[in-house]
């Protein structure tokens, strides 16, 4: 079963990815990245990394037949370590008025996308973790502004945007999730099994259309009918509920 379908991340749209600690959605980021880069020769990707390391990204990509160093060399893939680009959130030596902001990241994105704008290539921007930025001390207002401006700029530049957000309180949606849900075209929700971890089913994925798209092309997948998946070392296998290899 092929999931998610290739047209899910259309140009100029925002795709939101949410996950929980017992079912991380990294596999979907790797899958979307791999599909995007292999799709066409001119495909470009800007990876804004908060939690993921380039070493791990390279190792996993290498095993799924994606030669990331080659893409880096050709300029199709650009990796940005967000933490190294911005000031630490609370600095004891700075005054309280001088709050650090996420503006450098936006400027960098703007600069990179402007460089790619002349070509006919499809561009993908990935922000792998917005939640950690909130946890380590950046203010909610800053983050909401950052999401809004990044989303607006990507729409203007006709680039697809993927943002991952971790859910730590599943019963109460937080401010960031509320905003992301308002802006997104689709919301991919990775959920753990309610019965706990299992060797044959790693988790399940639901797909909800968002208000960012007027006529959703892809049919929604509710939580009740969520597609289940099983992780292997380098890949992921999707299957319908009740059709796992231990059931059949």
């Amino acid at each position: 079963m092929s999931f998610p379908s290739s047209g899910l991340l259309s140009r100029g749209e925002l795709l939101v990815l949410t996950d929980e600690v017992s079912s991380p959605a990294e596999f979907l980021i790797h899958r979307i990245l791999s599909t995007h880069l292999k799709e066409a020769n001119e495909s470009k990707c800007l990876f804004l990394s908060v939690s993921e390391s380039l070493t791990r990204l390279r190792a996993i990509a290498g095993k799924s037949n994606l030669n990331l160093p080659q893409y880096i060399q050709s300029g199709s893939f650009h990796f940005v370590d967000v933490a190294s680009q911005i000031d630490p959130p609370v600095k004891i030596e700075t005054s309280f008025n001088q709050q650090p902001s996420l503006k450098p990241i936006f400027e960098l994105t703007k600069q990179k996308l402007s460089g790619w704008s002349g070509t006919e290539s499809s561009v993908l921007v990935i922000l792998d973790d917005i939640s950690t930025l909130e946890w380590i001390g950046y203010s909610i207002t800053d983050l909401l502004r950052f999401i809004r401006v990044l989303s607006a700029f990507c729409r203007k530049a006709n680039a697809s945007l993927l943002i991952r957000h971790h859910i730590v309180t599943p019963s109460e949606p937080d401010d960031i999730l509320r905003l992301l849900r308002q802006l997104c075209a689709y919301h991919l929700e990775v959920l753990p099994l309610s019965t706990g971890r299992s060797g044959s089913v790693s988790g399940q994925v639901a797909l909800h259309p968002g208000p960012g798209i007027t006529q959703p092309v892809h049919r929604p997948i509710t939580r009740k009918l969520a597609v289940q998946y099983r992780l292997t070392d380098t890949n992921v296998v999707f299957f319908e509920r009740g059709t796992g290899n231990t059931v059949l």
């Binding site: 939690s51 630490p88 004891i92 946890w135 299992s198 060797g199 380098t234």
Partner: protein, 447 residues
């Protein structure tokens, strides 16, 4: 001469005290000092990864115990160990050591109970040997709740430690141990300063050397760290993890101070956040907070919850494939618990015993079962008037008339058997010895 050449794999020397996980990208793992914890982590803690231990109980120090194992293992196999604590030397001098090679614990009085506790396995084995087992089951492997301790081949990777032995003082004073003070006189936050110190220490290490460095923080967030806020702690963990990732020979183990381990301190979803901010996050919930749990699981000291597990080069954590304690390769995940015996700490699978929670192996009913039975009888006696002699077969009579009947009558008569004391079908088990504590009497203990 033939042009064919034998293809030989290039010989890679492992860093000291490490092992390679088989796979397309070789990952070096190192032991935490506890074989069963290594199993949960997927063989050991991978280099470039961080382990966070949460032990929320204020009255016990299981988090620190894990750190002591981590330090002892590092020192025993010749790795460099960096401890971030004001009393690092003191902390390390309390570490356990290999049996027969270190000093014995002072003021240690071997009690018979402890001895029995520790020899549990051996005695049960010898006990089993005497039991006559049906031939079809005789050949079956004995049921294992934990992984076996270090074997001969495993010994270099994971040393065998004894909690009654103490680390020799010459090792504590050796150059293998690097200690970093947490408190200073400057106004700067300790977390920010220590991030720089760790980075400097790691930079000084020779990248070509095959000597891993272990960084250990025994109690992060204790009073010596000042007034730590949740955001600052998250920043520290996040930055430290990215520093460790840049150094291929470093690994990190942290225990949080007990009061920081719960959602009550960090807000809703705090433990989940900690799980996201570290490569491996395990919490040890001791039973001391809830006496009913210790009564229910008398042979364990607490639950083990896994929040996240390291996967440095793969999508799937090696633990999911290799851990026999978690048991994911065959079915759902096992429940895990830990127990600390006289000589060692063990993580094992948690099962309800036969008949739902009675620990001993027996052929007669347990005392609790007898007590329950007796108490039920007593209740019956209380409710019934004497002299009611209706046969016990007619306990309830229900009459229901269906359609066509004007008045639907339902008669329910509930009659119960008379209060004749029924002799128990089982023999009453010998009452257990009890020890009572009286503070108002001259002799404190009443046997």
């Amino acid at each position: 001469m033939s042009s064919f050449k034998r293809k030989t794999s290039s010989h890679v020397t492992n860093p000291i005290g490490t092992r390679v996980i088989p796979g397309p990208v070789s990952t070096f793992i190192t032991s935490s000092g506890v074989p069963s914890l290594d199993d949960i982590l997927g063989g050991g803690l991978p280099l470039t990864c961080s382990l966070l231990v949460l032990a929320s109980d204020l009255h016990t120090a299981y988090g620190e115990l894990i750190q002591k194992y981590f330090i002892a293992q590092g020192l025993a196999c010749g790795q460099t160990v960096c401890v971030l604590d004001d009393d690092a030397q003191q902390f390390v001098s309390e570490c356990m050591w290999m049996p027969g090679q270190g000093a014995q614990v002072q003021n240690f009085v071997p009690s018979t109970n402890d001895h029995i506790d520790d020899e549990e396995d051996e005695s049960s084995k010898s006990h089993d040997a005497k039991i006559k087992i049906a031939w079809r089951y005789e050949q079956m492997k004995q049921f294992q709740t934990t992984v076996s301790s270090a074997s001969q081949s495993n010994e270099d990777f994971c040393k065998v430690f004894d909690l009654t032995s103490r680390i020799p003082s010459d090792i504590v004073n050796s150059s293998q141990l690097v200690s970093v003070n947490v408190t200073t006189n400057t106004d700067e936050l300790p977390t920010r300063r220590l991030l720089r110190s760790i980075e400097e220490i790691l930079k000084q290490e020779d990248p070509t050397s095959y000597k891993p460095i272990r960084i250990c923080i025994p109690t992060l967030g204790s009073p010596q760290w000042g007034d730590v806020q949740p955001q600052e702690l998250c920043y520290f963990l996040h930055t430290l993890r990215s520093i460790i990732r840049r150094h291929p020979h470093a690994c990190l183990s942290i225990s949080l101070a007990p009061h920081l381990c719960t959602d009550a301190w960090g807000g809703p979803g705090w433990t989940q956040k900690l799980g996201w901010l570290s490569d491996a996050c395990v919490s040890l919930t001791a039973f001391t907070t809830n006496p009913s749990l210790s009564a229910l699981f008398p042979s364990h000291h607490g639950f083990v919850h896994i929040h996240s597990l390291p996967a440095p080069h793969t999508l799937l954590s090696p633990s999911d494939k290799f851990s026999s304690l978690r048991g994911l390769s065959s079915s759902g995940e096992n429940n895990l618990a830990f127990k600390c015996m006289r000589k060692r700490l063990i993580f094992e699978t948690l099962h309800l015993d036969v008949e739902g929670g009675v620990g001993e192996r027996r052929t007669t009913p347990s005392t609790t079962a007898t007590v329950i039975e007796e108490s039920t009888h007593a209740q019956h006696q209380h409710f019934h008037p004497p002299g009611n002699s209706i046969p016990s077969e007619a306990l309830a009579k229900v009459e229901v008339q269906l359609e066509g009947v004007r008045e639907q009558e339902t008669k329910v008569e509930v009659q119960e058997q008379p209060a004749v004391p029924r002799p128990s079908a089982f023999k009453k088990a010998k009452p257990k010895k009890k020890v009572a504590f009286h503070s108002d009497r001259p002799d404190l203990y009443d046997f």
